[in-house]
């Protein structure tokens, strides 16, 4: 029998974890309301798992379509959440059109354009389109909110796909590299939550999120970096020490990514960013930490391993 590669081992572990969690939810006694909520949440996890694994395993460009779709839905959710101007309809359309262009650059491995298209070219093109319309009232607010949305939902998310185009001296298991980013980010959320529940006493940033504690944050950093120290060297081209350093960076980035979307929702005055993922809330609620971790993970590896 062929030996399993690291990607297959990681996918099998996630599958095992999902089966275990599902069995626990069905097996343990919860109040009916709690059980229903947990089951709904679990069902959505299964859909996310199938969606991502399908994207990774089917032939190219399926993962580009998969991540591009996430960007599109997330940007749509973001633009549906924030105040927008009627005059800007065409500017928003340009922002949407940036998605296929960005993913084209990423998919074809054109690294330079992938990195400058949104931070440089869209930075110029969006105000040009807005100036041609000529509505000055609320200009700066509309422009900066739109560009931040593109950075978070398109530029950052496209870094997940960008990992697939990296060329390393010896490492070739790009699927493992990508899946490990997503798993580690979600695990970091879980580690923070569990540590906070078990040991949480001292609030860390109560103005943004009253539930986050120092104990939760540090527990997340410790557990995530431990995960990186032991598992990272198999899933990434990094050695143990570099992987450990990346684990610390990723845990911190995930924490602040999560809180950035929390701050945004608090600013707007909504609880959930949407209802696209039943049991979780909106898509932005789920990918909040990933927006930051994808950037850190990619650029760390690009700097130290390529």
């Amino acid at each position: 029998m062929n030996q399993l590669d690291n990607f297959e081992i990681l996918s099998a572990s996630i599958l095992g974890a999902l089966i275990l969690a599902t069995a626990l939810i069905w097996g343990l006694k919860f109040s009916p309301k709690q059980a229903e909520e947990l089951k709904l949440r679990m069902k959505t996890w299964w859909y996310i798992f199938i969606f991502l694994l399908g994207g990774l395993m089917l032939p190219s460009p399926s993962f580009a379509i998969c991540t591009g779709l996430i960007s599109f839905l997330a940007l749509k959710e973001y633009l549906s959440l924030i105040p927008t101007r009627r005059a800007d309809r065409r500017v928003l359309l340009w922002a949407y059109l940036a998605i296929p262009i960005q993913y084209y650059f990423v998919q074809t491995g054109w690294y330079g354009m992938s990195i400058v298209f949104i931070p440089v070219w869209m930075f110029i093109l969006l105000p040009i389109r807005m100036i041609l319309i000529g509505e000055t009232s609320g200009f700066l607010k509309a422009l900066s909110e739109l560009h931040w949305g593109l950075m978070i939902n398109v530029f950052a998310i496209s870094h997940i796909l960008m990992l697939a185009t990296l060329k390393f001296p010896s490492f070739t298991d790009h699927k493992a590299l990508i899946l490990f980013l997503i798993v580690a980010t979600e695990m970091n959320d879980v580690f923070q939550y569990v540590s906070g529940k078990l040991f949480g006493k001292h609030k860390i940033i109560p103005k943004v999120s009253p539930n986050k504690t120092w104990e939760g944050f540090l527990g997340g950093v410790i557990l995530t970096s431990t995960l990186f120290y032991f598992v990272g060297p198999y899933m990434t081209p990094l050695n143990h020490n570099y992987s450990l350093a990346l684990g610390v960076c990723l845990a911190v980035a995930g924490f602040f990514g999560d809180l950035s979307i929390s701050a945004l929702k608090r600013d707007i005055g909504v609880k959930d960013s949407g209802n696209l993922l039943p049991g979780h809330g909106g898509l932005l609620d789920r990918i909040d930490s990933l927006c930051f971790t994808a950037l850190i993970y990619f650029h760390f590896i690009h700097y130290f391993a390529v």
Partner: protein, 215 residues
């Protein structure tokens, strides 16, 4: 049965991808939708997309039993468009202007016919699309329908966001998630005027929606 095929194909390859992927719906209380006709689905009207969105609330197996009221002069203006409107879109023509000697009942004759055929009819009681994302007053047509069918099930649906996606006078579609809030159906239209009841229900349904500023 053959007559419903163009309708289903158009629904499947064109209307549903637009309403479910490009637009995207946040549907509240779908269990309140009428399961079978005769029934009236009344909604506030802001966009050409309102009708496809309301169609998409019904499964493909039932959607051919749902039809929508549309302006005669616009959707049935030339013979080719009229064929498309009738057979592909399932539209029911209603004239917007009364001619000499015509009563409101005459104008609404096609709606009565569809209801008598036990269909679910989509009806926009505000008459026209109006300013995007603003409700206009409900006109008397709905009262006339309800007085002719006093036991008709009328299901109010509040739509938000479609005026942002595709407002009147602008053919460009800009994706936004839209809210569809289904209200409790009303029936037995003898006491209060249905138009007033529906306006009050729309007020309530509107409160269930987060509305970011759009100006």
């Amino acid at each position: 049965m053959i007559r419903v095929i163009p309708r289903l194909i158009f629904e499947l390859v064109f209307l549903r991808p637009i309403t479910l992927l490009v637009v995207g719906l946040r549907l509240k209380h779908p269990e309140r939708l009428p399961k079978k006709g005769p029934a009236l689905l009344v909604a506030n009207h802001n966009s050409h997309l309102d009708t496809p969105v309301l169609f998409s609330l019904f499964s493909l197996g039932r959607v051919h039993r749902v039809c929508a009221v549309a302006a005669h002069d616009y959707w049935f203006g030339n013979p080719l468009l009229a064929l498309f409107s009738k057979y592909v879109m399932n539209l029911v023509p209603v004239k917007r202007k009364r001619e000499e000697g015509e009563s409101v009942e005459d104008i609404l004759a096609n709606v009565f016919k569809a209801l008598e055929e036990n269909k679910i009819v989509i009806f926009f009681p505000e008459g026209s699309r109006g300013e995007p994302e603003q409700r206009s007053t409900i006109r008397s047509g709905i009262d006339v329908i309800c007085s002719k069918f006093p036991n008709l099930k009328v299901c109010p649906v509040f739509l938000h966001g479609l005026g942002k996606v595709m407002p009147r006078g602008d053919p460009i579609v800009v994706p936004f998630f839209c809210d569809v809030v289904v209200g409790e159906p009303i029936t037995g239209h003898n006491d209060e005027k249905p138009s007033k009841k529906i306006a009050a229900i729309f007020d309530e349904l509107e409160k269930e929606v987060d509305r970011p500023l759009w100006h």
